[in-house]
Symmetry: C2
Amino acid sequence: MSLKPKVLVIGSGGVGSVTALSLWWRQRLEVTLIVRSDYELIKAKGIEFHSCSYGHIEGWQPHNLSSSVSDAARDYGPFDYVVLTTKNIPDGPIRCEDIVRDAITTGVTTLILVQNGIGIEKAMYAAFPEITVLSGVQLIGSSYENGVVYHRGADNLSIGDFASKENRSSKSDEVMKRFVEIYQNDDGLNEIKIDNDPQASRWKKLVYNAAFNATSALAGVDNTRCQIAAGTDSLIRPAMREIIKIAKSEGVVIQPDVMDVFCHLGDGMFYTPSMGIDRKKGQLMEIEVILGNPLATARANGVETPVLDTLYALLRMVQLDTMEKRGQISIDEKDYAGNSDDYQRIFNDKRHERLG
Amino acid sequence: MSLKPKVLVIGSGGVGSVTALSLWWRQRLEVTLIVRSDYELIKAKGIEFHSCSYGHIEGWQPHNLSSSVSDAARDYGPFDYVVLTTKNIPDGPIRCEDIVRDAITTGVTTLILVQNGIGIEKAMYAAFPEITVLSGVQLIGSSYENGVVYHRGADNLSIGDFASKENRSSKSDEVMKRFVEIYQNDDGLNEIKIDNDPQASRWKKLVYNAAFNATSALAGVDNTRCQIAAGTDSLIRPAMREIIKIAKSEGVVIQPDVMDVFCHLGDGMFYTPSMGIDRKKGQLMEIEVILGNPLATARANGVETPVLDTLYALLRMVQLDTMEKRGQISIDEKDYAGNSDDYQRIFNDKRHERLG
């Protein structure tokens, strides 16, 4: 590791932008930020922050700005840390392991996934067997639009090694401590801590995400309206209970009182979670990491999950519709003239053909 | 009953229009049709039919046309039969018993509900304790728009007394036979039969409706795309099995092979059922008669229905959103600042206040 570590932040939404700013703040490291669709805008005008921690900042630039990971790797690598803050949509056109690939240098890079969901480390282990992959759970409240970031809830990051204690690299503790040192700013501007059981934290966060994200996306309304219409006993809590059951089958015990906390977290706020916003905007949703992976675990462990199965099936239908409308797949009606028992297989075969 | 019976048809969608035409065809009775929003159009130009049975007909008029049930009752009543073909949405602004009220003459009128769902007779018995209420199950394929009816699937109606044999009026058989006589046209132009166990027929039809209507509405795609995305084992069949279980708890035995029939009924057709169309159009959906009432029966009989509970909760959220967007309810965010456990009660109280 160089004396001035190099950190690549991928994803310049609310979370990615504040992460880059937090890292840049004390000038103890070199921050490279990947900006894709708004690259020209940010290159010309920088990012504007309205931040609850850092105040109003205009024209902010990281040390290095790139429009692609391969450009960044060529111009500013190798990176000590790669922080991935994009959405994780393995059923979408780009897989996360392909997003980060060019920025990974075995023996040098530690990968930090600041993303939702369960099982997201597995594709990374398969693609990069030698590197340390850290979980990042970020409790921030932030949003990005057209070069402007609204940062309303403090940057509060927990990191931990996805691998169990016996499977961790000998350098795991060191790379985590080093990242905490370079990330933590003075005067409580942000908060970072090491989490020794990140899988438990992820399952716990999933109790909220699986229930509220799926419900809001399918109903098309914010969390408060969901509760006005149907309370929490009809669907939200039954969905939460199923996540708690799956977690338990993995040895993760979640106290049932977290359900109360989560059901009241947004009291009176009329907040729409990310999956609800994605559906409204016609964007792909994180249905595999938030529902598909936990349900695969449920099947493997013999846990029954009729509520989550129902939500997941509906979300797969919505996702197919979104992919079709975005031109990422096409459904030729004449391919589906025969027996509907075969439709899913036909679809998967055609998709596989196309994606290779 | 007069020698030339008087029949009132309420609802001039695809089903109502073809019903009125079928009844009018042999001129054995006097047909009055209620047309609400398109009254001026139909009054001026009549209805145009593209009918698989009756051919292409332009400028068709029933014997009497009215824009309201009260006008029809005053001008053309009393009616021997009132055939109600509107959607049945007890949580909407107009209840079906209020729609038909002015056309009901006790001792004269038989009411025929050509509508989907379970338990729809109960509100009618409460409002009109003395009359015979018949179930109509219509297997027609038809649609209406701007005065034009496309009639693609033959008019095939089963009628039967909602009341169990021991509770039927002594005139029940006679009024059903008489209706069959006046409804049946020659040369197989239509088909009508008496169904001695209409509750069983309704539960059976509900196996299809509860599963496919709810799924299509929530996913926002047609039935075929639902199956392409997620097959039928993930949601459609589990939902169907729960309806079969509820029916069984009511003494109605449905053979499981109807699930296969229903899952293949629309093979290759890319058909969107009514609830899916309603959601796309931002219209209220028949969620109470298709899901709410069967689930009330499930609760009363101790049947567990996690899949249908999930679908119903989601649909109630969508319905609330639709009501709000249509201005039928309003949600003042400041009323929902407190504890979310109270939200449903607050909403119901406010709604009750407004509806009286």
